[in-house]
């Protein structure tokens, strides 16, 4: 992480050729924040309260965005499977970062903050979702919809994201 030369300036100073995953937020299906973690040093920190507000707000906007579809829903009733729900916000881009949102079928949302040019975000998201399915959902001590405090998940998540960041 030597490229993060000047911490005080925050995200914008990270050198452009280095692809970085900044942070991960997990929001449960009711809009509550269940997990938040930064993966790079010298990031702008929000207070816990602000993270909670952020999660709730994003949840609301996401819900609205699922209703904004200007096209008529194509009405081909499928007998074999239920159609996927409308996706809502998938990507939010700014000059300094990109926010990828992935919603699972059960309504849990993974928000990944990365560099704007970060490649393979789908793969990274898939890897994180896989770790979550293994080390959170298969853990008998995790209660659904509650904050994620699983040592095994934490350890592997940090290891995997660090590997992505140092690529």
């Amino acid at each position: 992480m030597e490229q993060l030369c000047d911490n005080s300036l925050g995200w914008s100073v990270v050198s452009q050729n280095k692809m970085v995953v900044y942070a991960l937020i997990i929001i449960n299906k009711a809009g509550g924040l269940v997990y938040q973690r930064d993966f790079a040093e010298g990031l702008n920190k929000l207070s816990i309260n602000d993270y909670l507000v952020l999660a709730g707000t994003f949840h609301g906007i996401h819900a609205i965005s699922t209703r904004l579809n200007p096209l008529l829903p194509n009405d081909t009733p499928s007998t074999t499977s239920r159609p996927l729900p409308p996706s809502g916000i998938e990507v939010l881009e700014t000059e300094n970062f990109r926010l990828q949102c992935f919603q699972t079928l059960t309504g849990t949302k993974f928000l990944l903050f990365t560099e704007p040019q970060q490649p393979n975000i789908e793969n990274i998201m898939g890897m994180i979702y896989g770790l979550y399915a293994d080390y959170v959902m298969k853990n008998p001590f995790y209660s659904l919809e509650m904050p994620v405090r699983c040592e095994g998940w934490e350890r592997r998540l940090v290891r995997e994201v660090r590997a992505v960041n140092s690529r």
């Binding site: 293994d134 080390y135 298969k138 853990n139 008998p140 001590f141 995790y142 405090r149 699983c150 040592e151 095994g152 998940w153 350890r155």
Partner: protein
């Protein structure tokens, strides 16, 4: 559906009369009982770890209901494993090649059977270490180490329960195996993945096998 009465199974009515005394839950409809199935399985047949993880997770949650404490929880997990050890002892001895199909007579022979044959059957690899207690006061203690117990793969024990190791279930299997073979013992699982070693194997578990005095006595009597 009274109208469907005349349509009988292809077995016909005479065979139905014959087996009328054998109807009921005890007999599967195809007539194949547990006695019709072979005891040997191919070596490569494996189960999905994910489905085991979900099952084991539910077993832990089930054991957790109305427990008085961590020791009680470990005791329950131990009890769940105990009959499996008993059964596997016989099954795996049966599957041994005819020449080496012998009952373990000594502690070492038994523990080697457990750390290799039993471990391979359950986890597809042998245990990582088998040691005898170096303390002369406890000659009845042996230690089996597993760097990464398969049952604990996806489990993160919360901080307030850090005494707990869910591999108590495996300890129960080992205990069942020892008890069945005539070496009554108490087996407990302990997490040792802390400090320097913990960097490499954070989930390292030691199974402490404490044989009862009579076993050690017999061992001395039989000679090695």
């Amino acid at each position: 559906m009274a109208s469907s009465q005349p349509i009988k199974s292809p077995m016909g009515s005479q065979s139905q009369n014959q087996r009328s005394s054998q109807q009921g839950l005890k007999y599967p409809s195809n007539g194949k009982t547990i006695y019709h199935r072979p005891l040997n399985r191919s070596r490569t047949q494996e189960l999905s770890q994910a489905s085991f993880a979900y099952l084991f997770g539910e077993m832990v949650s089930y054991a957790q209901k109305r427990v008085t404490g961590i020791q009680d929880l470990e005791k329950r997990l131990n009890n769940q494993g105990h009959p499996i050890g008993l059964k596997l002892l016989d099954l795996l001895l049966y599957r041994e090649p005819a020449r080496s199909q012998t009952r373990p007579l000594h502690i070492i022979a038994l523990l080697q059977f457990i750390t290799t044959t039993l471990w391979r059957h359950l986890f597809s690899r042998p245990a990582d270490a088998l040691e005898k207690s170096s303390n002369p006061d406890t000659p009845e203690e042996y230690m089996i180490s597993d760097n990464e117990p398969l049952v604990n793969q996806y489990i993160s024990v919360p901080k307030e329960m850090n005494q707990l190791n869910c591999a108590a279930y495996v300890a129960g299997i080992v205990e069942g195996c020892c008890d069945g073979a005539g070496f009554p013992a108490k087996v407990t699982a302990h997490s040792v993945g802390k400090g320097e070693e913990g960097e490499l194997w954070p989930g390292k578990t030691v199974f402490l096998v404490k044989f009862q005095d009579e076993v050690v006595e017999r061992e001395a009597f039989l000679g090695r």
